[in-house]
Each structure stands twice: as structure tokens, then as C-alpha cells.
């Protein structure tokens, strides 16, 4: 199984039935592929839609029905569209059950940096700061390292997205939960050892007893 599929499948199992979820552009978007239809999970996008569905076939798409990356999407029966003020009311007002997004760095306090590399990459924060500050659960979905360098670090060196602690980190190697006691290693990816995870992480991990393997719902 490809690393990104491990991450997407594991994040999918984290989403609760009947919840409202925002998936970031890129790897997080793919989480939707692994959702059980019967769970009635609603996806929303901050550009103004509740009930987002996958891109329709070429030629069947509507230029006025898009996701936050500007790409065309479809909608489920019962979808609703809203303006940007209402959209961020949903996000900031505590009505969004979970947001799944990528990271440049996450640190021992569970703080996230994901919107700027000063002097190099200045995309802007878009909706990320509101999502991380307002969603009930913030799930970071990312590769454990970037070109071999750890992304889970003692302290973020890049500008923070929020001063609020995120809820969970899911990577191709591990599931890690930020707590008052630090970053607790909860699960290992199939076939990955605790030593391999520790070696790929520059932050201190709290390891308490046996660390179980991720349940992906299918054989890896």
C-alpha cells in the first residue's frame, strides 16, 4: 500500500458517522475515497458548500461548483451552498466536527505550522487559521518526514497556524496524539517498528508499553 493510502485509510477511520468534515486540498482530499457511505459523513469546503462530492466525469462538471482549490466537484443530494461569511461561521462557530489538513511542522506542544516559509513560500493562510482555531477536532495528515527530514519537531521553527493544540497526527509511519504529557505514540503503521518511528522523529515521543499496529480495515 502506498504511504498516502495508509494515511488516508487511517484518517477515514477517525471520522465519526453523521459528522461534518473539512478536507484540505491534496492528500487530505483523498480521505473521502475510504469513507463508508453508510456513515453519512458530510464533507464541506470553505468556499461555500456543505455536501461536497467527488469530481464528476469530464464534460459533466459545472464551473460554478468547485472546491477550495478552485477545481470542479459534484454535490450529494441534500447539499447546501452558502456565502463566505456563513461558511466561516460554520468553521469558527464550533459547528465543524473535524478538519483534516497537511503540515510543514508539528511540535511537542501539538502546535502546527502549515502556511508559510518566510522568504521562500508565501501562499497565505487561506482558511487554515480559522479551521485550526475553530474545528472541534484538528487532524494532521502528512508524510512523517520531508526528504528524510523529520516534520515532527521539538519546537516549530516556522510561523504557527494557531496557538491551539491539534487533536491527532496521522502519518505513513504512526498515529501520534498531542497531550498534556507530550506527544503520545498511539499506533504504528503495518510493518513499522517503534525504533523506526523514533528515528524519523526529532520531537520526544511518549511511549507507554506496547504500541499496537494501525487498523486500516484491510490488509496492508
Amino acid at each position: 500500500m502506498k504511504p498516502e493510502e495508509i494515511i488516508q485509510r487511517r484518517v477515514a477511520r477517525e471520522l465519526k458517522p453523521n459528522s461534518l468534515v473539512n478536507l484540505g486540498i491534496g492528500l487530505p482530499t483523498g480521505v473521502a475515497k475510504f469513507i463508508d457511505e453508510h456513515d453519512n459523513i458530510l464533507f464541506e469546503s470553505e468556499n461555500g458548500i456543505v455536501g461536497l462530492a467527488a469530481k464528476p466525469p469530464e464534460g459533466m462538471d459545472d464551473p460554478d461548483l468547485t472546491d477550495a482549490g478552485g477545481g470542479t466537484v459534484s454535490a450529494i443530494p441534500g447539499a447546501a451552498t452558502i456565502d463566505s461569511a456563513y461558511s466561516f461561521g460554520l468553521i469558527r462557530g464550533g459547528h465543524l466536527d473535524a478538519t483534516v489538513l497537511g503540515a510543514l511542522e508539528v511540535d511537542e506542544e501539538g502546535l502546527l505550522a502549515n502556511w508559510v516559509v518566510p522568504g521562500k513560500m508565501v501562499p497565505g493562510m487561506g482558511g487554515a487559521m480559522d479551521l485550526v482555531t475553530g474545528a472541534r477536532r484538528v487532524i494532521v495528515a502528512m508524510n512523517h518526514t520531508a526528504r528524510g527530514a523529520p516534520k515532527i519537531v521539538p519546537k516549530c521553527t516556522l510561523p504557527l497556524t494557531s496557538i491551539r493544540r491539534i487533536s491527532l497526527i496521522v502519518t505513513d509511519l504512526a498515529v501520534i496524539e498531542p497531550t498534556d504529557e507530550g506527544l503520545v505514540l498511539r499506533e504504528r503503521a503495518p510493518g513499522v517498528t517503534v525504533d523506526q518511528i523514533v528515528a524519523a522523529t526529532s520531537a520526544k515521543l511518549v511511549i507507554d508499553g506496547d504500541v499496537p499496529e494501525m487498523d486500516l480495515g484491510v490488509a496492508a
Binding site: G48, T81, F88, R92, V122, G126, M129, P159
Partner: protein
């Protein structure tokens, strides 16, 4: 009937140095023909308040490419490297604002509010130089209102009186900006006789719209 103009005549209302709000999200729900005419008009020194600058050479990206913009207030410029280049070289003064805060600042401007209080951005560099307010022991960031000389917006349908309705995700910032611009110019996909848009479907009442853009010939 609302005054109606061709795009090339509408942009003559806009002077160099004007402060513009422009609807749209990655170009979806932007007034496409109006932006094309504005980019062609050779305006300079415009301030643009918008969610993003679309992609290079597309919609608001046309204004960036034409060198018409000297100041930009936006939440995201990641998909337009030309804007990023302008920011890094100092040609464009870019203020990046969290998206939810940006729309609330515009709403506050249009609704006659002195600002809004938000947790978003608190303790990050996005809050640098901004005022915090403590209420009942809780800290908030003050987001100040934004207004503009012109709001350039797009709608799905307008009627002759300027009542507007929007479609799907092309709604985004448009109805909010319609209250925050001193002069509001709307480019609708379709212009209909009065009475054809049911009152409950009208999202922006025509009283706040100043000009409609005529349909393409």
C-alpha cells in the same frame, strides 16, 4: 431600471488609485468581463481586496499581470506565482488575512460595525501589530472593518432593478461585498425582467446595486 453599462464603459468610472473589492474564489464567481476590461484599461495603483488572485493571467490574475495593483488584501496567493513574485520584490504591498477574518472585516464594513473579535490568528504573526481585547478574562483579536470605493461583483441572475441571486459556490464573497462598496457594479450571467426572481430567492436586494453590466453582444 438600473443603469447598465458595457464593461469598457464601466471601468471608466474607476480612477487610478481606487480601492476595489472584487468577488470570487479562485475566479469562480468573479466578474470575468469586467476584470478583462479593467486589465485592458491601463489603470494603475489600484488597491484590491479579494479572497485570492486566481491563477496567472486569469480574472484578478489579469490585473496583477497588467501591473494595475499596488496593494492587495487577500487570504491566499499560493496559486498565483506572479502575485508572490510581486510581493517578494516589493512591487505589490500584500497584506495576508485569514479568510474568515477577511470576510468578517468586509461584513463589518458593510454592516456599519466597528470591527469584529476573533480567536483566529491570535498569537501568530498574522496578529502582529494588531490590537487585542480582553473580555471577561478571555483574549480576542480585533479585526477592523474594510470598505471600498467600488465593489465589483458577479451574480447568476439579476433583474432590471438589480436584485441578485447567486449559484452554487460562485456566491462566496459577492453578497458580502455588495454592502461594503460605495459604488457596486454587478456582472450577472443573465438579466431578467423584474418579478422573475422570487423575493425569497433574492440574496442581494437591488437597492445596494448601482450598475449592471450589459450582456455580451
Amino acid at each position: 431600471m438600473k443603469p447598465h453599462l458595457k464593461p469598457e464603459d464601466a471601468v471608466k468610472l474607476i480612477p487610478d488609485g481606487a480601492r476595489l473589492m472584487i468577488g470570487g474564489f479562485m475566479g469562480v464567481g468573479s466578474p470575468h468581463r469586467l476584470l478583462e476590461a479593467l486589465a485592458q484599461s491601463g489603470k494603475r495603483n489600484l488597491t484590491v481586496i479579494a479572497n485570492d488572485t486566481a491563477r496567472p493571467g486569469v480574472d484578478i490574475g489579469k490585473l496583477i499581470r497588467a501591473g494595475a495593483v499596488s496593494k492587495l488584501i487577500a487570504s491566499h496567493i499560493g496559486l498565483n506565482p506572479e502575485t508572490q513574485k510581486g510581493m517578494i520584490s516589493g512591487e505589490i504591498d500584500v497584506e495576508l488575512v485569514p479568510q474568515g477574518t477577511l470576510v468578517e472585516r468586509i461584513r463589518a464594513g458593510g454592516y456599519g460595525l466597528g470591527g469584529v473579535l476573533t480567536k483566529t490568528g491570535l498569537g501568530t504573526i498574522a496578529a502582529d501589530g494588531q490590537q487585542t481585547v480582553e473580555i471577561d478574562g478571555e483574549l480576542w483579536l480585533l479585526a477592523k472593518p474594510l470598505k471600498a470605493d467600488f465593489a465589483l461583483i458577479a451574480a447568476d441572475q439579476a433583474d432590471y432593478s438589480g436584485n441578485l441571486q447567486y449559484q452554487l459556490t460562485s456566491t462566496n464573497f459577492n453578497p458580502i461585498m455588495a454592502l461594503a462598496g460605495a459604488t457596486v457594479i454587478c456582472e450577472a450571467r443573465e438579466i431578467l425582467p423584474i418579478g422573475m426572481i422570487p423575493p425569497d430567492v433574492v440574496k442581494t436586494p437591488g437597492v445596494v446595486v448601482d450598475y449592471l453590466i450589459e450582456r455580451a453582444a
